[in-house]
């Protein structure tokens, strides 16, 4: 009997950090493994939430796991983030959140005091968003097999009547509306992780967007798509919309709000804020005649005070996002292959 020493598996045949980035590697994993296995028309729509007919109503259903590092950061923690993330995925589908689940994977030795603090933060975030945590689960893994705590939240909600939202619905001429400054969450996490102390009040924008969505839908239902630019940032989100709608998107750099602290952090760390994650911002693609009304409605809401039209959907260069820079040049804003920042949410 002989034993053969198994050859190591080449890195290209294993999971890479970039597979969790929300960029091209994530898209490949979906295309090559998950979509072929789970093939069904709801999943294949590739929205941030599934929408199902239930008892005559349109039910939205979504899930997200959270592995953010560090667990506590300026502007939030893994608990509030886990609530906001799922509330926002429902809200981006035009759904009023009804209920959340919360499932914890805890590492042996994790301080119960920290777990209590996280649970309380989740509860506060849920109360602020007007949604209850109605079911849950806890698993424990041995010391060294986890990283303190991982949280999954799933959520259900009811989609408002008369809405037909999809990342595939953008049309040439539509306006691209952004609810506020970009990159706050990612920049806050990264400076915290790197131990940088920068000037200014750099903090995560983690927040529930369902109230802001209600404010928009109160003025118009002529919204084609709504997305929260989390992993992959504004660039990732707009590339997805451009690809799925087979349209171009032309942005104006000077119109995109950016806080000074984030600008500074990105300069020091060599990051492009267009790719940095947000957890309390949204993009709406709206009919051109409704753009001013949507911006005005956003600005009346505390989470949309810096809302602006940042560009337009074009018939030219379908699938591409371009940026007219402050210098007057135009560049392509591509989708990143992997990650600028792993474990941002």
């Amino acid at each position: 009997m002989t034993f053969t020493c198994p050859a190591p598996i080449p890195a290209k045949d294993t999971v890479l950090l970039g597979h969790g980035s929300g960029g091209q590697l994530s898209a490949e994993l979906l295309r090559d493994i998950f979509l072929p296995a789970f093939a069904n028309p709801v999943l294949s729509r590739l929205e941030d939430q599934a929408v199902l007919e239930v008892a005559g109503a349109r039910l939205a259903f979504t899930t997200d796991s959270f592995v953010v590092k560090p667990l506590f950061f300026r502007g939030g923690d893994i608990g509030s983030l886990a609530v906001h993330g799922t509330v926002n995925d429902l809200a981006m589908g035009g759904a009023r959140p009804l209920a959340l689940s919360a499932a914890f994977i805890l590492e042996e030795g994790f301080p119960l005091a920290d777990l209590r603090r996280i649970a309380e933060s989740m509860a506060q975030a849920a109360a602020r968003a007007g949604v209850a945590v109605v079911t849950g689960d806890t698993k424990v893994v041995e010391r060294g097999s986890g990283d303190g705590v991982y949280i999954n939240t799933a959520g259900i909600g009811i989609v408002a009547d008369g809405l037909d939202l999809s990342a595939a619905h953008a049309r040439p001429g539509d306006a691209v509306v952004l609810s506020g400054a970009i990159g706050d969450h990612g920049a806050a996490i990264l400076t915290e992780r790197e131990g940088l102390s920068l000037e200014g009040d750099l903090r995560s924008d983690s927040a529930p967007l369902n109230g802001l969505v209600e404010a928009i839908l109160a003025v118009t239902h002529e919204v084609r798509a709504m997305r929260d630019p989390t992993r992959g940032g504004l660039a990732g989100t707009l590339n997805e919309i451009a690809a799925q709608s087979r349209v171009g998107i032309a942005l104006r750099e000077t119109a995109i709000p950016l806080h000074a602290g984030v600008r500074g952090a990105c300069e020091i760390l060599g990051l492009d804020p267009l790719y940095v994650a947000n957890e309390g911002k949204m993009v709406a693609i709206v009919a051109p005649e409704c753009a001013d009304a949507v911006v005005a409605a956003m600005r009346r809401h505390p989470l949309g005070a810096e809302a602006a039209v940042i560009g337009a959907v074009t018939a030219g260069h379908p699938g591409l996002v371009t940026l007219r820079t402050a210098f007057g040049t135009t560049r392509i804003v591509d989708m990143l292959a992997g990650d600028q920042l792993p474990r941002i949410c």
Copy 2:
């Protein structure tokens, strides 16, 4: 400026493996941390699924994370287990499963071939249960911060009309019906993990129970409670029902089916099969006059061929589960504080 060396946190103030056991420590975590934080009437019912009124229908909603080790085992893998676990939590609430979510936490370096195998197994399990995976998420953590793959599934379903199931609804005189032999899943996992090779075909019973539930509900709706005895085993599940219904439960050991391989494994490993996890068995508490019909309906189904009445609900010794042994003595079947077997699901 002086620095104080922080004292280590006493183990009692940290997460222990037993907190994930489904036993007393799990109950304490729920009582001391999660219930106070998330206080709401749906969660406080402590069922395996939340039931919400949506558009006039009763919607069941549940979540579970899976951290089973090893990932592949005789009779299943983490993928099929993740589907069955959530399908079964819905089915135990009398709900027809509508849709599942699937969220993956992958460790950097995990072989993509294994991920594909797991995804395909999930898809097959979902097809067998007649339910679609409609939404998902993938996160990646660095090498050493996870354990290959953790999966969360959440599920939604519609509760059949005319049912009023609850672990608090058992009444003295009710029959305790078990769908088949106990301990198969836990014994299979543990022998695999310990590298034991035992005689007989020891394999997990992991299976979707929604078809079996449909078979029961076709003959009667006089069912008080249904539960799948997973973590904590049959003993854990019946202790929960006894506590929540404030009744006693008297079991007859000779009536409880047990496969020879599981009996052998438990003897070698020093385990009590009453506490060993099942992933394809259910307990139904039913009105006494319906017991025979429920057993007959179960036996006509492939997953209920060994169904039997294993005991009765009593007015005496409320909150306690007792077992009349094969020797004719009676002993108390208590709830375990911690775990016999960590990471069984």
